[in-house]
Amino acid sequence: MGKTIAEKIFDAHRVDEPFPDTHVLKLDRVFCHEITTPIAITDLMARGMDRVFDPTKIKAVIDHVTPAKDSKTAAQGKILRDWARRHDIKDFFDIGKNGVCHAIFPEKGFVRPGYTIIMGDSHTCTHGAFGAFAAGIGTTDLEVGILKGVCAFHFPKTIKIVLTGALQPGVYAKDLILFIIKELTVNGATNMVIEFTGPVVDAMSMESRMTLCNMAIEAGGTCGICYPDMTTVDYLWDFIQDEFATKADALADYSKWVSDADAEYERVLEYNVSELQPMVTVGFKPDQVKTVAEMTGTKVDQIYIGSCTNGRIEDLRIAAEVLKGKKISDNVRAIVSPATPAIYSMALKEGIIEIFQDAGFCVTNPTCGACLGMSNGVLAEGEVCASTTNRNFNGRMGKGGMVHLMSPASAAAAAISGTIENSFLFKA
């Protein structure tokens, strides 16, 4: 019997199996941010164990509330900053250089096929887009990861999703993952890895693959995974060209991180996506999904474009294409947060920031803030947000607020009309 990519990664990293179905894996990366890491740091200090297993494998960023909004968030930043300095963690991204963790860490070349990665953040599953096993964990697992460079997991049971056909113009990876979550339900992939495969994924950019894998957790999944291919190699080439003579050599090496044809799966689901329409969430669970057409006319108060799901350059380009030469409705306010400084710079050079500003958007610095109602765009009670983020939980973007998750194109369309609309209405 063959093995899945996740099983192969487990086999290459297992350091212990102390109990049945308990796989202790060696970690290639431990990512940290200022919300879940400070308590791990203070606990390690209190235990007299203020050490790190390898400062070159730990990467840290202040991203959730930046600039600090009050004394408490300033203190969280300070704990992380002081710790990074104390332990000589060179890849620490403070304000001016910081961005949303799941956008900036891939952009800096920290993720490679076959890696094991943990972070105290549920959307760590994003990094599976590179053919890595990347899982969100809590502060205690993070603490052990920082200290010992290991983490324990159950066997990676896997759901394989085969995507065939071709996405229609105006339909994006976000629409596809909302559809898949609706199919799987919010706990349909609990304790499982979700493999995204097939010609639709093969044709996708790394940005789109990250959007897919990012929301694996919304179906309960431990990690979303795409097989590494030439698109992966192209994205990483600046960082790996010293390791390989040619891109073909890199691809040949990375090809060991692909599931065998006779691998065993919990479920295999195949969808032809050619008829898929733009999708949007309703209610307070991410599996409550309808087509944009069904929700057309629903009034919104705020538009938010950004986050680890849809704050990358591809997303801003897609939104700008809809917004170009148009104004947002007088009945809404709109915010865009490019996910990293590099994305912000690209968007400036390409004239995208100007398009957003001319349309009436507020352009903020890179931060997670609004997505979880912490800063930079919190909703008031009774308000509705058209958002490119990943969670529509009750109160997520502000107590008493309602969030409709959608693609950047659909969010741009909602900004123009003040209601949920299909973006093709506004395309040139």
Binding site: F19, I35, T36, V65, D70, K148, T190, T222, G373, G395
Partner: protein
């Protein structure tokens, strides 16, 4: 080891997420105690009020408890309110592991058993006690007593007995 005994809070809903258990705006706290007043503040459940969590030690609920964010603040908010046991049909992976990593119990029982607990005990004054060595829950209500067996993996049981994952990992890796 923590204590696993006391009054029961019944939450009759599936998919209670960690944003409901402790909203993100409290994630700026850097002590666990500070989370105490805000447990289940955003829970969507008709008839529920924050006062219902007082003097409780065990939660009984439905499917997929603790889904969403990885925040360990969710188990901590339970812990500082004296709740070290959650019994459910199923849990989200990260929440479940966080519970055991903190030396707390996230016990899964079959749907029929959970249905029975709600049918027989919800709304009554009921206490439960978890026996760590025998993998048994003892329920007391109306002067009567009932025991239910549960399954827990060896790793999780070890974490409960050792009081969490940090000490275990430090010793072994």
């Amino acid at each position: 080891m923590k204590t696993f005994k006391g009054n029961v809070l019944f939450l009759d809903r599936s998919d209670i997420n960690t944003d409901e258990i402790i909203p993100a705006k409290y994630l700026t706290e850097i002590t666990k105690e500070a989370l105490k007043p805000n447990l289940l503040e955003d829970l969507v459940l008709p008839g529920f009020s924050r006062a219902d969590t007082e003097d409780k030690a065990v939660i009984v609920t439905r499917e997929n408890f603790g889904c969403g964010s990885s925040r360990e603040h969710a188990p901590w908010a339970l812990e500082v309110n004296g709740i070290n046991v959650v019994i459910a049909e199923s849990f989200a992976r990260i929440f479940r592991q966080n519970m055991y990593n903190c030396g707390m119990f996230a016990i899964e029982l079959p749907k029929e058993t959970i249905d029975g607990l709600f049918a027989n005990y919800a709304g009554k004054a009921v206490t439960m006690a978890v026996d760590v060595d025998r993998n048994q829950i003892t329920i007391q209500a109306d002067g009567k007593s009932e025991t239910i067996d549960f399954k827990v993996g060896e790793f999780d049981q070890t974490l409960v007995k050792e009081g969490g994952w940090v000490g275990y990992a430090d010793k072994n890796y």
